[in-house]
């Protein structure tokens, strides 16, 4: 470890104090002289002032350039993350349009009365009612007779074979009444996404632009919504996922939801469905519903628990067989019966991915009256494998809609199922053409609307226009084949091509884009590491060259982007632009680093503490590839931080000076104990159950706080300013502005937020409702919060900007042990510290009381860590790394988890009545990233804390520390991107890996912005203030 020669502890040489105090005295003398002396000396002092002014300008330029250089790094991070995200989170615009019974997509040429859902909206209806039974995870091969594979004719059947036979049996015995087909799911094969597909008829993408993160309710036009619009009574029994998706859509009286998450329970849901569904099928109850959904989970749960090849699965399938036979016996002629699997299961019984076993479900439709046909020339029997005559799951949507006389949902991309419209002979090409024309026209209408909203060129019109032409000229042509058949084929082709197009647009990851994003992030990380860890000398001196060359690179990159786009006419204009800009910026940065190359050393760790920084950062990064370690990240961070406090303690015990030793041990132990104390504040994520107990809210099903927690803000207001004061008094730095800020303004802000939370809880529990009206209460609360914020930001920044350094001339005569100027030992650290507390006060207000408590502990821990690092003289990357670990740890202690649902939206309403951008967004950011913001602001303090008054190269050391801190977050962001791409087919992708990637990306950018604007930007006032007395930092 290259250790700098300066001594940063209290033991600074007294000669330096003497020289500084002499200089101060001299300066005072000069001032006095100035007043009395002749013009000569005025000239002299004017020259001195000019050189001081010059030094000041030099400092501000240096500081500005450092900000600019880090801003370039921010830009590179943003570009990298943008490139990755655009390939990873493919978005599909959700259109709110709904299909209307009276507004078919094309003019109808039949005699049916338009817009009458009694006879049929767009097409005459065939059934009045329908019963849809979903057997979760019903794989196609569960329903057809066992056939030994050709390669091994002696292979015995498995447990899941030949247990559920009714579907195949009926389809063979009476093909006009029953049809059994393979039913192909679009991945992801999770029940929630499948239900979306089965009701909207569109392809699932994971993040749907326009949809609300907080709620899961389907916003798109769908079958259930159409049923409700048509005043049909929809009853649902079984898996409660439906209720999250369609809140309030079901007949409240008859509907029976069951918890879907307990995969160990094979029977509760099934028994519930069977006992409640069969009575509804009785003729007596037939008028109480029009659309009956039964969703059984036993087969799926048996798969999850035991795998498909298990006796329990056979039992389950036989139970389903009996149940279905009962249903068939009950169903009447007006009712369509549909049985299906929403997805399959793999050999272990799990699903979610897109392997054949997972997507191949079964679909069986049944009607008491002869209704179904088969395509001429094909086997009347159901296909023996899922490879033949398969239909897509989205095809069910137009099929059911038209059979029940409803309009096709607006976003549907599926095609009507042939067998349901071909007539009993399978030759009713006219009917097929009509329904395919309707479906095709609706798809064309949707595609046109989608293209208009997304400002895309209208796609794939050619095939549609051709089909329309054929339709228009159908009467003129009488060729060898049926003209209706040709029309049907034309519309069918159109639907197929459009679906393929949409799949390529939405349902695939853009690996090129992801890889280019990862590359940009990796190279930026390399530049950052070389910059902050490889270069000896003052890093701040490099900024002019780096900024110039990286700037040139960026400009050239933008120009190249325009050029490439003009030449290639590529479809992803923005992506290409981002990539070329990033490459330009990276090449420019490398070019800017080249002059330093001869003196560079490899950025590899050279001491135990450096190694630990690297190991802990990488250990977390590697852990993000595992869902377990991602889920338990809060505990892992606790473990790492405790390890650090133990090592700090061991290192402190090595100190020869007894005072240093005791001081170091005390702060190490304090750091560890505070960490553990904060760790008791938890909000568990679902996956941590049952090994985790949430303490953040008063109970697991509420988001209000427990009453005792109100003591926390009071305790903070009472104690925190005192703790901060103590850390000033250690170095005799608690003077004038420091007293004004910590002792008065900061403390008042804390008291105000304590009162705010008191009123807020009183409001929640209606304690004062008899005395104060609700609106008065709200106004009072908002006013309190706004005052607290105003004090913190306005007063805080004024004091921070205009204050002199916290120095004072002691009245006593100077001796060797007490220098004449008090506060010199930590003049840099204390002068910068108010900046951190300016942000601390609002963050304390915006957290829930328990979160405020842990945030206050965080502030204390930061101070303890700074004292530790300076007594131990640790110049290794351990300081900035510990701060990053600490920030991540306190993200969890402030009631957040790496899931979208843990965002605390209500923080936006603490100082505001309604949503007001950009303030609401900033408030949410302060709530969510509070610990990250505080720790990022604390990074410059690592070199500044107890720095010698005239330490050389302070700016360079700050740049190095900030560089390491950002590099830690950049490593985590890079790792989560890498894993998200690598595991993009993983079952847990959108539960675990994607949210963690989003969190890492957001924290990286957030920390970047805080570092540049608040931390490096704030250095300006520190430097100007300290520089006037001690000479400007370099």
């Amino acid at each position: 470890m290259p250790k700098d020669g300066s001594v940063k502890s209290t033991k600074s040489s007294n000669t330096e104090y003497a020289s500084i105090s002499k200089q101060w005295a001299d300066a005072k003398a000069v001032k006095q002289l100035e007043a009395t002396q002749s013009e000569d000396s005025v000239e002299l002092s004017r020259r001195a002032a000019a050189s001081l002014k010059q030094a000041e300008i030099l400092f501000t330029v240096k500081q500005g350039l450092l900000m600019t250089w880090f801003a370039i790094l921010v830009l590179l991070h943003v570009l990298g993350l943008y490139l990755f995200t655009s390939g990873f989170l493919l978005t599909r615009m959700v259109l709110d349009d709904t299909s209307n019974c009276t507004a078919p997509p094309v003019a109808l040429e039949s005699k049916l009365s338009l817009g009458n859902s009694q006879t049929g909206c767009w097409h005459p209806k065939s059934f009045d009612k329908a019963v849809v039974i979903i057997i979760d995870a019903l794989r196609y091969d569960f329903t057809v007779p066992y056939q030994a594979p050709e390669y091994n004719l002696n292979e015995p059947p498995r447990h899941y074979h030949d247990a559920l036979t009714v579907l195949y049996e009926t389809a063979v015995q009476s093909p006009e009444n029953a049809v059994l087909l393979p039913f192909i799911a679009d991945p992801p094969t999770t029940t929630l996404q499948r239900i979306k597909g089965l009701t909207t008829g569109t392809l699932p993408t994971f993040i749907e632009a326009g949809s609300n993160f907080a709620g899961e309710a389907i916003e798109e036009d769908n079958l259930i919504a159409q049923l409700r619009t048509a005043n049909r009574s929809v009853v649902h029994i079984g898996d409660d996922t439906w209720h999250a998706l369609f809140p309030g859509y079901f007949n409240a009286e008859l509907t029976k939801p069951y918890d879907s998450l307990n995969v160990w329970d094979l029977h509760t849901v099934d028994t519930g469905v069977i006992t409640h569904l069969l009575p509804l099928m009785q003729p007596a109850n037939a008028s109480r519903w029009d659309f009956l959904i039964g969703h059984l989970l036993g087969v799926d749960h048996a798969g999850h628990r035991y795998g498909p090849d298990h006796a329990a699965m056979a039992d389950k399938l036989r139970q389903m067989d009996r149940f279905l036979r009962d249903v068939i016996a009950q169903v009447d002629e007006r009712t369509l019966l549909v049985v299906m699997g929403d997805h399959g299961m793999d050999s272990k019984g799990d699903h979610g991915g897109e392997s054949d076993d997972e997507v191949q479900a079964a679909l069986w439709m049944y009607s008491k009256k002869p209704f179904f046909g088969r395509r001429k020339g094909t086997d009347m029997r159901p296909p023996m494998t899922a490879k033949e005559r398969a239909v897509g799951q989205i095809d069910l949507v137009p099929t059911l809609s038209l059979l029940l006389g409803l309009p096709i949902p607006f976003n549907n991309l599926g095609a009507p199922i042939f067998e349901a419209f071909a007539g009993r002979l399978g030759t009713n090409w006219e009917n097929l053409s009509r329904v395919y024309r309707l479906a095709g026209a609706q798809i064309a209408r949707y595609m046109g609307e989608y293209a208009a909203v997304r400002k895309l060129e209208s796609t794939n019109r050619k095939q549609y226009d051709m089909a329309t032409t054929l339709w228009g000229s159908r009467t003129d042509k009488r060729g060898s084949s049926d003209p209706w058949e040709i029309i049907h084929t034309a519309y069918w082709l159109y639907q197929k091509e459009t679906l393929k197009l949409c799949k390529s647009l939405w349902a695939q990851f853009d690996v090129t884009s992801m890889v280019s994003g990862i590359t940009v992030l990796a190279l930026t990380l390399g530049v950052l590491l070389v910059y902050s860890r490889s270069i000896p000398g003052n890093l701040a001196d490099l900024s002019p060259l780096l900024v110039r060359r990286a700037g040139i690179g960026l400009v050239l990159g933008v120009a190249a982007g325009f050029g490439v786009n003009a030449m290639l006419q590529s479809s992803s204009w923005l992506g290409m632009m981002a990539l070329s800009t990033a490459i330009g910026g990276l090449l420019g940065s490398v070019w800017g680093l080249i002059p330093s190359a001869p003196s560079m050393s490899l950025p590899i760790p050279r001491s135990i503490f450096s190694w630990i920084s690297v190991i802990f950062t990488l250990a977390l990064s590697i852990g993000f590839a595992s869902n377990s370690y991602t889920i338990w990240e809060d505990r892992i961070l606790l473990f790492f931080l405790t390890t650090l406090s133990i090592l700090f303690c061991a290192a402190s015990l090595r100190q020869e000076n007894v005072v240093d030793r005791a001081y170091g041990c005390y702060h190490s132990i304090l750091f560890g104990v505070l960490t553990r104390l904060a760790s008791f504040s938890r909000l568990c994520r679902e996956e941590q159950m049952p090994y985790c107990e949430s303490t953040y809210y008063s109970s697991s099903s509420s988001s209000t706080i427990a009453a005792w927690q109100l003591l926390i803000p009071v305790a903070i207001a009472f104690a925190l300013p005192g703790i901060i004061k103590q850390y000033h008094q250690n170095t005799q730095s608690y003077h004038h502005s420091a007293v004004l800020w910590y002792g008065f303004a900061f403390r008042s802000a804390l008291w105000l937020s304590a009162v705010f939370w008191l009123l807020n809880t009183a409001d929640d529990h209606a304690w004062l409702s008899t005395y104060i009206s609700e609106s008065t209460m709200k106004t009072t609360k908002v006013m309190l919060a706004q005052t607290a914020l105003g004090i913190a930001i306005a007063v805080g920044y004024s004091i921070y900007a205009w204050s002199a350094p916290f120095l004072s001339i002691t009245t006593s005569t100077p001796t060797a042990n007490s220098p004449p100027i008090a506060g010199l030992a930590n003049v840099h650290g204390t002068r910068y510290l108010p900046l951190l507390t300016i942000y601390l006060a609002p963050i304390l207000l915006l957290q829930k009381p328990l979160g405020a408590g842990t945030t206050a502990l965080l502030a204390w821990q930061i101070l303890a860590l700074l004292e530790l690092l300076s007594t131990l003289n640790l110049a290794s990357p351990i300081g900035p790394t510990t701060l990053a670990l600490l920030a991540s740890f306190h993200y969890f202690t402030t009631g957040h988890t790496a899931t979208l649902s843990s965002l605390q939206w209500d923080a936006a309403f603490i100082p505001l009545h309604t949503i007001r951008q950009p303030f609401s967004a900033i408030l949410i950011a302060l709530n969510t990233l509070g610990p990250h913001i505080l720790c990022a602001l604390a990074v410059p303090l690592i070199p500044l804390w107890r720095a010698a008054p005239r330490e050389k190269g302070l700016m360079g050391k700050v740049a190095g520390a900030v560089g390491v801190h950002v590099a830690v977050y950049a490593t985590w962001a890079l790792a989560t991107c890498l894993w998200a791409m690598w595991l993009r087919r993983h079952l847990m992708l959108f539960r675990v890996f994607c949210p963690r990637f989003l969190l890492a990306g957001v924290t990286l950018v957030g920390v970047d912005v805080v570092v540049v604007l608040a931390a490096l930007g704030g250095l300006r006032w520190w430097g100007l203030s300290v520089g006037g007395v001690l000479g400007f930092p370099d």
């Binding site: 135990i608 595992s626 370690y629 338990w632 892992i636 606790l638 405790t642 290192a651 015990l653 553990r676």
Partner: protein, 242 residues
Amino acid sequence: MATATTPFPKVDIRPVSSLDSDASRLYTHIHPLLLLSTYLLQFKEIVADPESALASMLIPLVVLQLLYNVVCLPPVGSPTAKPSTTKSIGKKKPGGPVGAPISKRITTSLLASIVTILIGTPILTTLLILFGAPLTTHFRHTVLCAAHISLLAGLPLTYVHGIEMESWRRISALMLPIDEVFGAAVGTILGAWLGAIPIPLDWDREWQKWPVTIVTGAYIGWAVGKIAGRYLLHGKIIDLSG
């Protein structure tokens, strides 16, 4: 490391050598085998019922560690042979002390075990809780885990180095040169630390339960550290400077 100007009472900071007797040379190798195989034999019970199995395992652990102390190690305060001035990494070790009478070795050893249990266990329990061990539940598991770690790591250390504050400052500061006693202690702690790694995994194995992995890691780390301390890393000093 600057050690010359310490104002504290002088303590012996040379690596400890085991006793220079045939029994010592033999048993120091048999001891880890015996202890580990005892643990292995108990492993099934420990997984099935950590609380009672770990408690009953304490007895063979204490007995074997006492035996090891008495047979192989010089008790605190015994005169040592001339220190090796060269870095003693080679096989040629200076003959260890043989002086201390067996009665002193036994009494020192017994005293050390009492001190270890009474002082070491609470300290390690606190540490385990700081590292994230449950506070409100499984407390007895945690105490037993701490007892195992402190008997593995602390008993020979106390026997060899006594209860001098300065010695323990150096031990806690990891300042001692590595020998088989200190190596075993560091190995135990490291092993217990690494033992936490499998806990969060969703493998649903019985042996993942608290504190089986920690104790297992401690035992393995103890054996590895003991052997490495005697041979591979003998005489080395851990560098903790930043």
